[in-house]
Symmetry: C3
Subunit: 345 residues, 3 copies
């Protein structure tokens, strides 16, 4: 674990030292796990008083006084630099491990690391400085760009194209057959899935997710998009740039998602739905219809979030309705209006 | 990419050429991705006008005129033949890769391919022409039939039986312990899971799915059934013939599912539920009770689809009820009927 | 398959023989799959009459008469011993398979089994009698205790700590990056995930589940807890002792779960939620707020189970409300009270 001064932290993150810049820290902690030698990251400066005075803090500009720390306009961005500083997982030394299996016709760039028991089949093409951690399977003619990181037990199937600076976490499969079958008299007949998958630059795919190949054509995840864990992208989807979708989500076949979309976890999206740019999808929503640009949706079937919120709130009144209706009926009965003949209307 | 004439396409798929049978195509495209040299597949002949005239189409019999193409009674079935024609993923050349690890007592059929870093433990038995793609783990005494395809990073545990023409996609686990524990004074005690799993002929299992072994007895997926991605089958399930269940679905312990069942994605089925033959389960349903043959169910708790639809529609009236009840109360109050004394009924 | 006498079964499980103690059995079956030579396990002694008389049974004390079998105060606990007796999956013979890849500085205990194509990177430390089944990836400085079982195609990433008697099923990933990104003008910037994961003693993790490392600090699963299949634990979670959570569940970032919590399948828990000790969460619930000790919750958003049950029941009355309100309106109209002017109130 490196030891750095607050001055160094400020320099790296673009923040400002308050108090003793020579103060040395060995790591980062949250308010709940404060301890000596750490820099405590505080999003909500309202709780600053609760942090022991001897622990330096990283917080928003203009809120520190009388204690050591770093002020930053965006503490969250500063944290990124700070964590990079303390990341113990050093880069792999380039090389191909002797237990890796490389078929003929593979092309390996400069500074590539191919870990133990990785399997590269014919025509695989790995760009400079890309890391294949271990037990990775790479199918025929797969292309991976430079500076990408493919973690353990990942399967990249034939003809898949992966961009540069892509991170694919362990257990992910890219390019398995899409799920398509035709009903015939002799049972279900498989529709061959001969399309490909393209994962563009700067994409990140969470552990154990599955991105299926297109029936024909392309399943595409566009530049800068981040997908969570245990997330399924079915055949022929097109997911736009710079979107972020949390884990445990299922995206049906031929779904189109715009750029800058943000989705919570456990979302379901039905086949063939189109979701516009800048849409926000609340966690656990089930989207069954197209969504216009910029909308926030929630619920199942998902609808505009404000409408869904009012709808859900309305349901809380049903028990009250039962009582009020009963009372009204009694009044009418008592008054002789709600008698039998009226009931038979 | 092979180049074939429309005449050849018609011959292979059983369709009829319209126009120039010598016309050469190099692949298949959708209306949205039309381009020169491709055959455009059109399900909805209403949009035929929108496809550039120089692109030949595959569509329903009796709808083409004045342009090149193929007519077929079932374009969807024709597509299966067509995609097979253009599938570039050629069969593996038989053989056992030197990096594969075969324990003593394994039995390997004719024309089998066992890819790099595959692991076969004692007594594994692989049928003719079956492919194990790479990084596959095969437990003790596992039996796999002929012409099956086991993709990458699959784990098949001790005593599992896999039929012929089965496809198991990457990242699948078959035969992990079922989830069973007994509460004791000393905490949860594991119930050993000593049963097996039988995957019958012509089954397909989507990537990263999990099929657990039975506590005792058998977890079974019957002939011709197709399961999607990230789908969980718990211990002691019995899934009938020719059923199709989409991905992200969780099937509880000891669930029995009939034949010809069709289920959408993200469905949950509670432990011990029995689902009849020919049942349809809408996506995202949560099935908590037995379902009779032939029924279509939806919702959570799932009920007959028409009942659920009416139920959901009824909920849209609650806000209206609030207003109407308020109005009625005002009327009664104004008329002197709804006064204090009545309120206290 | 071993053959044992009822007397032996009684001895091992602490039960009492009824009838012929020399009777030999070869395995265990359920009432639905009764067959000669097996011991039939019967939870519900009301169905004893339906079990063929020649099949011995295991059932509750004081309910057997006139047939062979075992009585036990807790048949479910007896079953655990019984299944252990018939478990054919014998322990692996200790040793390191020649195809395994061990980096320098690994430390391997006594009686350890490291199967084919396992990968251990620098500093991995494996405790006595622990089994790594095959195709397992172990990152830098990972520590695993004794008597643990790591199944196939598991990925344990750098600095992860696994306790003793832990079972990690196939396809699990432990210690992949948590899902965290900061929105900047140039798109999403990854927050480095430099924390660790600690899996304490006696934990079991179901197949294809994912346990993410902490952003900084620790993601922790405490002693004795059992997690199901395809279950996601996000960064910085803390899951208490002796909890049991079924499969297909997604647990958001920084969630704290108490001890003795029981959760059904397909549950979602939102980021930062705290769940108390002894809480029960019904299957398919979506927990969005903190839950007090001992509560049972269900629904989405999850609330106290009795409240949710009443709420759901109330919704079944909405269609009835529509009719009753219409009837009341007609009565008022007829009586001249509900006329136009009143409508305009």
């Amino acid at each position: 674990m490196p030891a750095v001064t607050l001055r160094e932290v400020a320099r790296v993150s673009g923040g400002t030292v308050v108090g003793d810049g020579d103060r040395v820290i060995n790591g980062v902690c949250s308010p709940a796990e404060c301890r000596e030698g750490m820099l405590c990251v505080v999003w909500d400066h309202g709780i600053l008083e609760l942090i022991p005075h001897n622990i330096p803090v990283l917080t928003k500009s203009g809120t520190l006084s009388g204690r050591d720390g770093i002020e930053h306009e965006s503490p969250r961005e500063a944290l990124v630099d700070l964590l990079t500083l303390f990341d113990r997982r050093a880069a792999r030394t380039p090389g191909v491990h002797p237990s890796a299996s490389l078929a003929e016709g593979c092309s390996i760039g400069e500074g590539v690391y191919i870990g133990p028991c990785c399997v590269l089949t014919e025509g695989a093409n790995i760009g400079d400085r890309t890391v294949l951690q271990g037990n990775v399977f790479v199918g025929r003619d797969v292309v991976i760009g430079s500076d990408s990181r493919i973690e353990a037990c990942v399967a990249l199937h034939d003809f898949v194209e992966i961009g540069s600076r892509v991170i694919i976490h362990s257990g992910v499969t890219v390019g398995c057959d899409g799920f398509g079958h035709v009903q015939t008299d002799g049972g279900w007949r498989k529709i061959p899935q001969i399309g490909i998958v393209i994962i563009e630059d700067d994409v990140e795919i969470g552990p154990n997710s599955t991105i299926d190949r297109a029936t024909f054509g392309v399943t595409r995840v566009r530049r800068g998009t981040k997908l969570g864990s245990l997330l399924h992208v079915a055949h022929n989807c097109d997911i736009g740039n710079d979107s972020v979708m949390a884990g445990c989500t299922g995206i049906g076949g031929s779904v189109t998602i715009g750029r800058g979309v943000i989705a919570g976890g456990m979302v379901g999206i039905a086949d063939h739905v189109t979701i516009g740019n800048g849409v926000t999808i609340a966690g656990r929503s089930g989207v069954t219809k197209n969504v216009r640009d910029g909308l926030t949706v929630s619920g199942f079937p998902a609808q505009e979030h404000m409408v869904e919120t009012r709808f859900q709130a309305s349901l809380r009144h049903v028990r009250d309705h039962t009582e009020r209706i009963r009372k009204i009926e009694k009044i009418l009965e008592k008054s002789g209006l709600g008698d039998k003949r009226n009931d038979e209307l």
